[in-house]
Subunit: 145 residues, 2 copies
DNA sequence: TGCGAATCGTTGAATATTCAATATTTTCCA
DNA sequence: TGGAAAATATTGAATATTCAACGATTCGCA
């Protein structure tokens, strides 16, 4: 008696997500190569671009990084003068992160690279499909939490 | 003159994909914890479950891992007697990977954990939305290549 | 046929990430 | 009020990944 064939991996949602994520990230990274910045740093800079001061915990959550990983990445960004730390005077356990002027300038250049990628995708993939995909992803994320 | 506010990161396709992927993977990893196996090893085992030898190059592509990373992960799996290497006699540069009996047994247990996750998602998220999301992801991946 | 280029997999060093433990500050409540 | 517990961020050690270089084999073609 033969074992019933299991669903191929390419039909699993987890796999499709990993594959799509990998590919889109790869493309974005390629565009960011001119600035020598990994995608995660763009996320950090983007979150900080509201000028408001975000704690490390908030940031870690927002940019999808573990705390220690974020700490070390921020160390590098501080060395590169892209961001800086300020102790939160209301709660001195916290550190508030801010983007420097240099960081803000870089953010704008990265934003435009990212937008150009988005429009490239929308072009070859279709505006409608893109919007629908985003909608479904948002809803999946919401349900998953 | 104020700088025009840029699109929030949560509206970028790249970010939504990263977020969804992270969350789904986290959940899957939690289920696999009982077997102490990372998601990548499940992918490898699954690809090998057709019983036909696969080269390292093929495998790396299929399981979304870089070559050196795969080599080292396979080393571990060989130590655990889950898979084994056979030199390809047709092309002696290649190595063909096979799943052991132990590996096959584990694959089945992992498959059932993965299926249970899929049905859990489909349940809370809806069969239709899930199917549609998969369809859109497949099509995005296709376009991106 | 022979030899330069390409392919395949692995290795070692450099880099990055993760896990567990720590230091500091705040919160809670007995 | 005092002190245990929780929250926040960082550190160091262990682990994993990546990059560049290598060795072996095959391919292309002059």
């Amino acid at each position: 008696m033969a074992r019933s064939p299991s669903k191929p991996i390419t039909e699993h949602l987890a796999y499709l997500l990993a594959q799509a994520n990998r590919e889109i990230n790869r493309q974005l990274d390629a565009r960011f190569r001119t600035e020598g910045v990994p995608v995660e740093q763009w996320r950090i800079l983007k979150v900080l671009s509201d000028g408001k001061g975000h704690s490390m915990g908030e940031l870690a959550e927002a940019v999808l990084l573990n705390h220690p990983t974020l700490t070390k990445m921020v160390d590098r960004m501080v060395s590169d003068s892209l961001v800086y730390r300020v102790q939160d005077s209301d709660d001195r356990r916290k550190v508030l992160m801010f983007s420097s002027e240099r960081g803000k300038a870089l953010t704008q250049r990265l934003n435009s690279l990212a937008l150009s990628q988005e429009s490239h995708i929308a072009e070859s993939y279709g505006n409608k499909a893109t919007a629908e995909l985003k909608r479904l992803l948002e809803s999946l994320i919401e349900k998953a939490n």
